[in-house]
């Protein structure tokens, strides 16, 4: 029974512009795979998409409990979209815990598909509930579809060589098959994926394919639906070849690409930490790209080894999240003093301290810009979406190499784990910025702290004959780099380092405004608020509101031209997932403008409607 049947052909087919589905189940239920397979198929069909995986707390909680719930939200669309959607239209709930944790997010009138096979009294109790949400009114106002998926999978896989436990593991593919039917999607991509994935265990591939097909073919369930749905391909996507990419993948690939564009190889020194770990993991698998990866004993050793790697002529990279970032502070100061290239990736998460390790936040901005002892300027750039993280990683490499400086690249948990289609770049069209190693002393002698037109000092790696010299963290005499305690030299060097970083501004464009060049409101964003802001501004403009937006990639130094742009709007709104950190920076830099800060610090991205409400309120002032 791995053939699809044309069940429900009699049902009317409804067109939707976009749909949001959330798969929710126990950590062991495979919801992340279900979600990503659905995403993958939608991508192949040409939908635009955005996803939002929501992991449970780090430890696998006991099965069936609320802390053990794992969710994956996917939005697929026939038009351009920027967020995974404020509220799911469809919720798939594999057990009571999944239902109760997620139901409050479901759009009014939305469909909730419930696996009744997991709703025994015991299951309700495990979820910590007093009453069964199926019957206690929890689902009032929603369209409830009840299916005993446990039983159906069992029956679909009767005679399978798998153990009953393993049979039950196929539940997620049954569910996926059902959703494929509902949204008129083909099974082939997932079947191909299963065959590939379980190449060495064909009985597992078989079972999952059977479950998938059974879900697709389950005529009796489908009677419960009043229609099948279709979401046409997105026609506004730029032509090109696409693949889905998460932010962490994009950073990893971007770093390899950035290094190659500089004629370098990546040296990554890192220490695992949620949600940054997979960048290290991915780079560790790129050894054939010449990547040298080093899992250090801690974050301090990680960054120090990366500085050592740069000193030896690699592009040193270190990746981490907030608490690890804190630990790297001292070594960043040394990198500033040594003036060597270095890319520091901070995938922000909820804090302070250990905080909410699996949740997103944007609250490391001030730390990134100002959080070091003494005057230790470091440029900071921030990725706004998963695919943008690729461009930002390349840009970080460019700045690091051209300016001989550490660079901080900010991402966050939302970007790291979220996926979106990435239009693959044409390798030959990427800008190159080859590293210039000094290998012979120039006329007049070699000076380790001489500077080029970008104020960058020469990069000389050990092993270069005749240019032996010593560098360190004590203040250096201008040009010679010898230790110097001279007061005027110190001031000169402090200002030189500041000027070098400020000078990066000359190499970055003024960000463009989306919307009118003047108006009632400008929304200024940075980082992963991008999607919510873009959606909200589209909606606002659709309503005729004179709202524009501008998104900052370079948060330090800030690009030129902002002051003039800001002057063209009656009000400026800064939504941030922190208590107003960019707003603070902008206030101090552009004192003549008022910046209205709008904060949300919940470990979650802004909902589009939240921003639209704010916009409405501001314009009504």
């Amino acid at each position: 029974m791995t053939q699809t049947r044309n069940v429900g052909a009699e049902l009317p087919s409804q067109q939707f512009e976009n749909v949001v589905i959330r798969f929710a189940g126990d950590s062991g239920d495979g919801m992340q795979i279900t979600g990503s397979q659905f995403t993958h198929t939608a991508a192949l069909l040409g939908n635009d998409l955005a996803t939002f995986p929501d992991f449970p707390a780090e430890i696998r909680a006991p099965a069936g409990t609320q802390p053990g719930v794992s969710g994956f939200q996917v939005r697929f669309s026939s038009s351009d979209i920027h967020t995974p959607g404020d509220r799911p239209d469809v919720l798939v709930a594999m057990n009571p815990a999944a239902l109760i944790v997620n139901i409050k997010d479901l759009a009014p009138g939305g469909i909730v598909i419930v696996n009744t096979g997991q709703f025994a009294e015991r299951d309700v109790a495990k979820a910590g509930l007093k009453s069964n949400p199926m019957t206690d009114g929890t689902l009032t106002g929603y369209r409830k579809i009840e299916i005993d998926i446990n039983d159906r999978v069992k029956r679909a896989l009767e005679g399978s060589p798998l153990s009953p436990k393993d049979v039950q593991r196929c539940k997620n593919f049954y569910t996926l098959g059902l959703m494929y039917w509902l949204y008129s999607r083909p099974l082939e991509p997932t079947i191909a994926w299963l065959k590939d994935k379980f190449g060495k265990k064909p009985e597992l591939a078989d079972a999952n394919i059977k479950a998938l097909t059974a879900g697709f073919n389950a005529g009796d369930i489908q009677e419960l639906f009043q229609a099948r749905y279709e979401v046409a391909p997105c026609t506004t996507m730029l032509p090109g070849t696409y693949r889905n990419i998460t932010g962490n993948e994009a950073v990893a690939i971007g770093l390899v690409a950035g290094a190659e564009l500089a004629n370098l190889k990546v040296f990554i020194g890192s220490y695992p930490i949620t949600p940054a770990t997979s960048i290290l993991e991915q780079l560790a698998s790129y050894k054939h790209y010449g990547v040298v990866s080093f899992q250090a004993e801690d974050e301090i050793a990680a960054i120090c080894s990366a500085i050592g790697g740069s000193y030896s002529g690699y592009l040193g990279v270190t990746t981490t999240s907030g608490p690890g970032m804190a630990l790297k502070t001292e070594a960043m100061g040394l990198a500033v003093s040594l003036e060597l290239p270095l890319v520091i990736v901070d995938v922000q998460r909820g804090g302070p301290s250990t905080g909410l390790p699996t949740k997103t936040e944007q609250a490391d901005l001030l730390q990134a810009i100002f959080g070091r002892n003494s005057e230790a300027p470091i440029p900071v750039i921030a990725a706004s979406t998963p695919s943008d993280a690729f461009d930002c990683a390349v840009e970080a490499c460019r700045i690091a190499v051209q300016y001989m400086t550490p660079v901080i690249l900010l991402s966050d948990g939302y970007i790291a784990n979220g996926a979106e289609p990435w239009r693959l770049p044409d390798v030959d069209k990427l800008p190159r910025f080859p590293a210039k190693f000094t290998t012979v002393a120039p006329e007049g002698g070699f000076l380790p702290y001489a500077r080029d037109e970008k104020r960058a000092r020469p990069w000389v790696t050990p092993g270069t004959p005749g240019l032996e010299h010593r560098i360190g963290g004590l203040e250096k005499a201008n040009l010679t780099g010898h230790i110097s305690y001279d007061p005027e030299n110190h001031e000169f060097m402090v200002r030189m380092r500041a000027a070098k970083v400020a000078g990066i501004r000359d190499s970055i464009p003024t960000p463009s405004v989306v919307g009118d060049k003047q108006g009632d409101l400008l929304i200024v964003g940075w980082g992963s608020t991008y999607g919510s802001i873009a959606s909200a501004v589209e909606i606002a403009r659709g309503k005729g509101q004179r709202v524009s937006r501008l998104h900052l990639r370079h948060v330090w130094p800030l690009p030129a031209g902002l002051d003039e742009i800001f002057a063209s709007y009656k009000a400026i709104l800064i939504p941030e997932m922190n208590l107003g950190q960019l707003a603070r920076v902008l206030r101090s830099e552009y004192q003549r403008h008022e910046f209205i800060s709008y904060s949300k610090v919940q470990g979650l991205p802004f909902k589009t409607f939240e921003l639209n409400d704010k916009i409405d309120a501001l314009l009504a002032r």
Binding site: K287, Y289, C304, A306, P425, V427
Partner: protein, 332 residues
């Protein structure tokens, strides 16, 4: 421009004035190191000296090689990065008892565990010199310093035991005033493939003067120390008349003729550790020389071999393949 002639000591002196206190033990170590390094047949530009912070950590400035004076305690991490990124380099690390065993103890432990091919000189003066005399993790219990006015209550590390506990593949000890021994020991370290830790008893004339006198004094040291020479009997004393022998779990003093032959390359680091523990026995000579010297896989080689293997097996990665992979689709 590559240097083809043999180097002299002088070639390794940088143009910077040496700024240790007059009489500091660091001078003789610098001098010995320059001598040994000059004799290795390695060109200057292939040498890198890495250090942390401390009096001892000023060392790189005085070497006419590449050098990095990094931050307190982290030199092993820098050295690891340097060596991984360019395994051709000869990397030496200079640290102190504070830099290397207090704030930097963990990095020290891990570089030794991994067996990164870096030679480590631990200047042990049992004090924080640069910050003007506080007790260190090797200071003896009871030492009165500004931060321990009633005497330190810390139990000191035994750096050799510590290194052995970390799985170090080469561990030795020498004395700043014992030039011949120091040069031989540094040469042995240089010859070792993998991490080599040399603890050097170093006198801080200002803040801890004479702390090693009872064993290191020239008139005493023959009787108060025993030189562990791999393959040679465990014999010591002015008249080379005394020896050591292991019996059960114990080490006993015996006439030279009955001494055991020293082996530093046993599977187990037990023998070396047993010797290191003699330190706490005042009736026993203090072992110096080579406690352990054993071949083991070298971290930087392992890491680089995987890179080469990956390239060999998958072909050198092309950017296009990095992008165009996995499930793709076209939009027209």
């Amino acid at each position: 421009m590559a240097e083809t002639q043999a180097l002299t000591k002088k070639d390794l002196k940088s143009d910077q004035d040496v700024r240790w206190c007059p009489g500091c033990g660091d001078y003789s170590i610098l001098n010995s190191a320059q001598g040994v390094l000059a004799g290795l047949g390695i060109p200057r530009h292939q040498m890198v000296f890495v250090s942390g912070i401390g009096c001892s950590s000023r060392f790189p400035y005085y070497m006419n090689t590449y050098g990095m004076h990094s931050i307190h305690g982290r030199a092993p991490a820098f050295a690891t990065g340097i060596k991984l990124a360019n395994p051709e380099l000869t990397v030496w690390l200079v640290t102190g008892d504070g830099d290397g065993l207090s704030i930097g103890g963990n990095h020290m432990a891990h570089i030794l565990r991994r067996n990164v091919d870096v030679k480590i000189l631990l200047f042990n003066n049992e004090i924080y010199g640069l910050t003007k005399g506080q007790y260190s993790p090797t200071s003896r219990t009871g030492l009165k310093t500004k931060t321990s006015p009633m005497g330190s209550v810390d139990r000191p590390f035994n750096p050799v035991s510590f290194a052995l506990g970390c799985g170090a593949t080469f561990v030795a000890r020498t004395i700043d005033t014992h030039l011949k021994h120091m040069e031989a020991t540094l040469a042995a370290a240089a010859a070792h493939k993998g991490s080599a830790l040399v603890e050097i008893y170093q006198n801080c004339v200002i803040f801890n003067d004479g702390t090693f006198d009872a064993i290191a004094d020239k008139t005493l040291r023959d009787d108060k120390t025993i030189d562990l020479e791999p393959g040679k009997p465990l014999v010591f004393g002015k008249g080379r008349d005394k020896g050591l022998k292991v019996e059960g779990f114990d080490v006993r003093m015996v006439p030279a003729e009955s001494a055991d032959v020293w082996r530093a390359d046993t599977r187990s680091a037990g023998p070396a550790f047993v010797m290191s523990q003699l330190d706490s026995d005042p009736t026993m000579p203090r072992p110096i020389g080579v406690f352990r010297s054993v071949a083991a896989p070298i971290f930087n080689e392992g890491v680089r071999a995987q890179v080469s293997d990956a390239v060999a097996r998958k072909g050198a990665g092309k950017l296009r393949d990095l992008f165009y992979t996995g499930d793709m689709w076209d939009v027209r």
